[in-house]
């Protein structure tokens, strides 16, 4: 399970993050606008997920693995 920090300003942003991660086969996706957190469970590596999230056009960084 991975945690990312993503610049999200509205529902459109958080929905976009959820949508691209779902499309990439991610599960258990949690987004939180206030804390800018994105959590996802995936078989993909954190680098691959970072590339997918970067395509949203938003500033995004990898925080680390979470349980």
């Amino acid at each position: 399970r991975h945690e990312f920090s993503m610049e999200m300003t509205c529902e459109g942003c958080s929905n976009a993050a959820t949508r691209v991660l779902t499309k990439a086969g991610g599960t258990d996706i949690v987004t939180d606008l206030a804390s800018k957190k994105v959590l996802v469970t995936s078989d993909k590596s954190s680098d691959e997920l970072l590339e997918i999230l970067k395509k949203t056009g938003k500033a995004i960084t990898y925080v680390g693995p979470v349980n």
């Binding site: 509205c10 459109g12 929905n15 949203t56």
Partner: protein, 71 residues
């Protein structure tokens, strides 16, 4: 130069519009991009030699907005 109209679902506010306009506007071959929140549409002018309607559709879709070509 060519023009494509793309239906864009999922935008909620002006900042979504700006994000798409800036991101698409940066792509090689894109000459102009106008996004309407009300019409849920993007109107893009581009150079055929450098990009295509489907590539631009995929670009917006990869941004997390459901995008489809309007014929």
């Amino acid at each position: 130069s060519a023009q494509v109209r793309i239906s864009v679902e999922g935008m909620t506010c002006k900042s979504c519009v700006r994000n798409i306009e800036e991101h698409v506007g940066k792509q090689d071959g894109v000459q102009s991009v106008e996004v309407s929140l009300e019409d849920k549409e993007a109107l893009i002018c581009y150079e055929k030699a450098k990009t295509s309607a489907t590539a631009l559709r995929d670009l917006i879709d990869d941004m997390g907005f459901e995008a489809s070509l309007v014929l």
